[in-house]
Amino acid sequence: MESSDKYLQVNSYDELKNLVKTIGKDKRIFVLFYGAKDNQGHSWCSDCNFVEKSVVKMVLWLLPSNGIFIECSVGDRASWKDSNCSFRKDPQLRLTTIPTLVEWGTSKRLSENQLLDSDMIQILFEED
């Protein structure tokens, strides 16, 4: 899928934080974290490969008019496995597993198998 102003890709923690800063408070931001992809578009994380297509399709379908979807690579296997990984250490994020879909700024998140359940993803997108 191509990028648009509602569907963005970032490749590092700093990129993600900087991007989020530029997004207005009235927007709902959804971020999908996955392992970095190679030239063929394959991630080193097999679970990520497995769920990505269906998740992205579902997210774009459910994305509200004030929604922004960001796909964020957590880096290569070594960086992710490192306990100092910024994604793991960030106090709000505290990411522990990939693939994970979160609504930024809330504690709502779904990981791994949960991402195969379209009903669960719908629950994530529900308005409070």
Partner: protein, 626 residues
């Protein structure tokens, strides 16, 4: 059978009447009429006996047809009467056969029912093995337990907004507008107290601690609550429990009409139904109450600082809210109609009142609100609460108090009215808070209906003791599901349930209040051991000087068995203190057991293991030393 013939016109009418009267199913027919044949065949197939006369073959056939037109305005045949009721022609009779009306007309009359006599409309199959109405503490626990036995379960949850429009997500009262936000706000107040303790402990003056930002607190708490709402949604989904964000109404014993937020309805059926709808706060029914007043339903997500607040009521909700509002620095006044904490041990209740007064919360006793007026709109606005107060002299004065917020906490009622339980034969009484009467969580009126939690009044509950508690609902719900869907026979025990009131000084209790113990056992058969004590952590705090002696504990002991039948403690962290003792009481601990248990030092709790002074001895209960 054909009656005897008569000749004149009136006689024809009489004849028609006789045919109709003497035959349960009477068909006025013609031999060549295909519809007559059709309906006769249908009745034969249904094994329903009938009597027919063929008007084309009778001399008085035309006269009879005229008489029928006069009587029924129907010109055609077949013209059919069942039990003297005019049904109509072929189509109408076929329809009556299909709908069961014919059978109903032909079946013997129902004996006069003394009370509502409702048949279980047992179906061949149901949409769900279990429908749980209410997604709160009890409902969620029950539904998940049922699902663990492989049952198909549906949970209905719907929050009707408060008069000012407040609403919330899945999880029920506890999570959204009860225990959880209450405890967090109680903690906010305690932090304010610790901040005042701080200087005595060597910390530099924490000036910032004296400023409390309401919105920031609400934001933190609401974020946490929303994460719980989400967690419960995901949890139900991952366990395969169907969740409908709709409110249910009974159509018949196994059938509910459910309506969602958009007003769209559908019907679902359940072999078993558990009602777990909980309760909502009551309003006092005075002018302006719903328009300008709020309840706990609104307080925990209030988007603006409540400012100076009058709390109307003396329930634990009222006192807990008054307590934390004061603790975070708001001016609070409590309007009490008669006594504090009805249903609780009254000595402890009055000690709580004394403590709260001592820390600066104003109480207005014998006070009843009569009208709530809005002086100025705003967030918060300015309100004027008119009240009537009976003074100690007996004189009744009417006056008013101005404030920013009025919080009504005068009691709760079960949300059973909107279920249309009258359709299944229920008669719920306002005097009983609209609660469903149950025995071991099974309705005493309708055996195939079950109920748990705040909305029930169970025969196995200790009389007069408020048991509207999350853990009670959870355990009752789980045990009920096990009894319904496995061969468990474990019943819920409503006795010796530990409770805690989270007023500024907390109060933990297990078992009998002093009043109940006296009335059940008699003064000569019980001993009451008690002691005042000072929490060590407070002993060096100047700002606690006035109240540091107010911690207190008592044990009520049955002399004959030495068993501890009542446990009461008023102290900081009473909730944490009390829980462990509940295990002991469950095992029938005696006073000797308590005394032989070595205390942990230095704690408040250890005082409960070293009680030696009884009330009857008249000795002083103040604690000496250490």
């Amino acid at each position: 059978m054909p009656p005897t013939k008569d000749v004149d016109k009136n006689a024809t009418d009489h004849l028609v009447e006789k045919y109709i009267e003497e035959n349960d199913v009477m068909i006025f027919s013609k031999t060549w009429c295909p519809y007559c044949t059709k309906i006769k065949n249908a009745l034969k197939s249904a094994k329903i006996e009938f009597y027919s006369i063929e008007l084309d073959k009778m001399a008085e056939g035309d006269d009879i047809q005229e008489a029928l037109i006069k009587k029924t305005e129907q010109e055609t045949v077949p013209n059919i009467f069942i039990k003297q009721q005019h049904i109509g022609g072929c189509d109408k009779t076929l329809a009556a056969l299909k709908s069961g009306r014919v059978a109903a007309l032909l079946s013997p009359p129902e004996p006069e029912a003394k009370h509502q006599k409702l048949e279980d409309d047992a179906l061949d199959s149901y949409d769900y093995d279990l429908i749980v109405i209410g997604g709160g503490s009890g409902g969620l626990a029950c539904s998940k337990e049922a699902q663990s036995f492989g049952k198909k379960v549906c949970v209905l949850d719907f929050v009707k907004p408060t008069p000012i429009g407040t609403t919330w997500g899945l999880g029920g009262t506890c999570v959204n507008v009860g225990c959880i936000p209450k405890k967090l706000m109680h903690q906010a107040a305690l932090i304010g107290e610790y901040a005042q303790d701080a200087t005595d402990y060597g910390w530099a003056q924490l000036e910032q601690a004296r400023q409390h930002n309401w919105s920031k607190m609400i934001e933190s708490i609401q974020m946490y609550i929303r994460s719980l709402n989400f967690k419960y949604r995901v949890d139900l989904r991952s366990k395969g429990v169907v969740y409908e964000n709709s409110y249910g109404e009974f159509v018949s014993p196994h059938r509910l009409k459910i309506t969602d937020k958009k007003g769209q309805s559908k019907e679902i059926t359940g072999e078993k139904i558990v009602v777990a709808v909980g309760g909502r706060p009551k309003y006092p029914d005075i002018e302006g109450d719903k328009q300008y007043g709020i309840t706990s339903d609104d307080l925990f997500s209030l988007k603006y600082d409540p400012g100076k607040t009058i709390v109307v009521g003396a329930s634990y909700v009222a006192l807990e809210c008054a307590g934390f509002l004061h603790g975070i620095g708001r001016e609070v006044q409590v309007f009490v109609r008669s006594i504090l904490l009805r249903g609780f041990d009254q000595q402890m209740a009055s000690k709580i009142g004394d403590y709260m007064s001592a820390i600066g919360i104003k109480f207005s006793h014998q006070t009843v609100p009569i009208r709530l007026e809005c002086l100025e709109e705003g967030k918060p606005g300015k309100l004027r609460l008119h009240y009537r107060q009976t003074l100690e002299s007996g004189e009744v004065k009417e006056s008013y108090e101005d404030c920013n917020t009025v919080l009504f906490a005068i009691g709760r009622e079960a949300c059973t009215n909107e279920l249309h339980m009258d359709k299944i034969g229920f008669d719920l009484k306002k005097a009983n808070g609209y609660k469903i009467k149950t025995r071991e969580e099974q309705s005493t009126q309708i055996p195939w209906l079950y109920a748990i939690g705040d909305c029930i009044d169970d025969e196995t509950m200790p009389p007069g003791q408020p048991l509207e508690l999350t853990p009670v609902a959870i355990q009752a719900g789980q045990l009920l599901a096990r009894r319904l869907f496995s061969d468990s026979s474990l019943k819920m025990n409503y006795y010796n349930v530990a409770t805690t009131v989270f007023t500024p000084i907390e109060y933990g209790a297990i078992g009998y209040s002093e009043e109940d113990a006296l009335s059940k056992f008699g003064e000569e058969n019980i001993d009451i051991f008690h002691s005042e004590f000072v929490p060590l952590e407070w002993s060096i705090c100047h700002h606690r000087e006035q109240v540091k002696n107010m911690s207190y504990c008592k044990l009520i002991v049955e002399k004959k068995t030495d068993r501890v039948i009542g446990f009461h403690v008023l102290a900081p962290n009473a909730g944490e203190i009390t829980q462990g003792y509940a295990v002991g009481m469950r095992l029938g601990a005696t006073k000797a057991d308590f005394d032989m248990t070595v205390g942990i030092h230095p704690t408040c709790s250890e005082n409960i293991t070293t009680l030696s002074v009884t009330k009857s001895s008249g000795e002083s209960a103040t604690q000496e030393g250490c």
